[in-house]
């Protein structure tokens, strides 16, 4: 089996792992680093449950082999919580606005939304829907997900103003 060494930063922490060349990034996160917040859904690039940030941009971690993350920075859902354990405003908004039912798509939804809100702090509902076009939810019908993200956008821009 052909192994390769991958050095990357995950949620701010340097990691060095030796994995088979064919290891997917989603597998590296879950199986080698035990970060199981990133979900494996369809594994065919459709559902978006495995969405993580690669250098701040949303990607589907089942569509990358781990070595593509060499020297780069990955952020997963585990990286969003504050040091004191407080939830990220997006996580908080999903809780308050019922943005989930079974919860399996939620980490992917939140990671897509995080990358999106960093580029568009005051989105319209239409823009939010477009930003989520690579993430599927089979429970909610999306209404409360969109509401949650709109609420988080408001909370986050309020926070930015307060600073």
């Amino acid at each position: 089996m052909d192994k390769c060494e991958v050095k990357l930063k995950v949620n701010g922490e340097e990691q060095e792992v030796v994995v088979p060349a064919r290891r997917l990034l989603s597998e590296l996160l879950r199986d080698d680093l035990n970060l199981t917040g990133t979900k494996r859904g369809c594994e065919t690039g459709i559902c978006g449950a495995c969405t993580v940030l690669l250098d701040g941009e949303a990607v589907k971690s089942c569509l990358l082999v781990a070595l593509q993350a060499e020297g780069r920075e990955v952020t997963t859902i585990e990286g969003l919580r504050g040091e004191d354990g407080t939830l990220h405003p997006l996580q908080q908004a999903f809780v308050e606005h019922g943005g989930l039912q079974c919860g399996y798509c939620t980490p992917g939804m939140i990671m897509s939304a995080k990358a999106f809100l960093e580029r568009n702090a005051q989105p319209t509902d239409g823009e939010i829907r477009q930003a989520l076009s690579g993430n599927l939810c089979r429970c909610t019908g999306y209404m409360h997900i969109v509401e949650s993200i709109a609420a988080a956008a408001k909370a986050m821009s309020g926070e930015a103003k307060a600073k």
């Binding site: 997917l24 949303a58 589907k60 569509l63 690579g134």
Partner: protein, 287 residues
């Protein structure tokens, strides 16, 4: 996914040498969004994967008013969609790139990789062919330009030789031409278009001086609608002329038939999309 050995060339020429060395047993990988799916389904089972991620400066996008646009093959869809020169000088290309697949794939998939994969149900081939794009193929022996008209040879097949690496996409200046790109999906939730259409035309008001019209996604490769181009050229574009053009495209286009759309349906849609897109480009009221 079968095991493979990863090779990381630091230049396109080195990549070409590796391809020549390993022959059929090697595959090139850029962003990987399409190839990884094919690997997982064991549609391809290479012993060696030649990964281009370490090749520097192959993702630049530059524009010159005389020579046009040059896009490094490793530029991602998002890079094309957000580039200021592309938005200013080739708005149809920017809007196409902003619609490819979904946001996560646009952040990772490359334009060069997309063209080499030659998946018919994809956006860039049709749009770029309408724009008269050419690609630069680099090998250890040198470089050659290939017009996109001659690049797509069949379903998932291109004119690239086994040891050639696509390194750049070149698009001539539009000059006084304007263009439009349209994609048709049966529902908004689909990520892959069922039919694509690109038009680049020179016109005086509604008079069509010349037009390049390309249809894709419903055909094995993007194809020029040359009958329609000839019909429009030198005529004022009116509703009646567009009805004729739609009828012509329905009868002359050889379309695919599969579970995503029957041949009859695809032909019908080709007429509809052509009529609407040309009407909007030439300022013709349809209703």
């Amino acid at each position: 996914m079968r095991d493979f050995t990863v090779l990381k060339p630091s230049s396109a020429r080195e990549a070409s040498r590796l391809l020549a060395e390993h022959g059929d047993g090697a595959r090139l990988m850029a962003g990987g969004t399409a190839l990884i799916l094919a690997l997982r389904q064991r549609l391809v089972t290479p012993g060696h994967l030649v990964y281009l991620g370490g090749v520097p400066a192959m993702n630049a996008v530059t524009y010159d008013a005389k020579t046009g646009l040059r896009i490094g093959a490793l530029a991602r869809h998002i890079d094309v969609a957000t580039n200021a020169a592309v938005k200013t000088h080739y708005p149809m290309l920017a809007s196409m790139a902003a619609q490819v697949a979904n946001p996560q794939v646009r952040n990772q998939g490359t334009l060069g990789g997309n063209l080499c994969y030659a998946d018919p149900a994809s956006d860039p081939p049709t749009c770029l062919m309408a724009l008269g794009a050419r690609v630069l193929a680099t090998s250890n022996a040198g470089e050659r330009e290939i017009a996109l008209d001659a690049f797509f040879t069949d379903y998932y097949q291109t004119a690239l030789r086994p040891e050639e690496v696509l390194t750049e996409i070149r698009i001539p200046p539009l000059g006084d031409a304007t263009g439009a790109y349209a994609r048709f999906r049966r529902t908004e939730a689909e990520h892959r278009p069922m039919l694509t259409l690109g038009i680049v035309a020179r016109r005086d008001g509604n008079m069509c001086r010349s037009a390049r019209i390309v249809i894709g996604a419903s055909t094995a490769t993007p194809v020029r609608a040359s009958g329609v181009e000839q019909l429009l050229e030198g005529k004022p574009v009116t509703r009646a002329l567009l009805d004729q053009a739609a009828a012509l495209v329905r009868s002359q286009t050889e379309v695919l038939s599969d579970f995503r759309g029957s041949a009859d349906y695809r032909r019908e849609i080709a007429g509809v999309v052509l009529r609407r897109t040309a009407a909007s480009l030439f300022g013709v009221e349809l209703n």
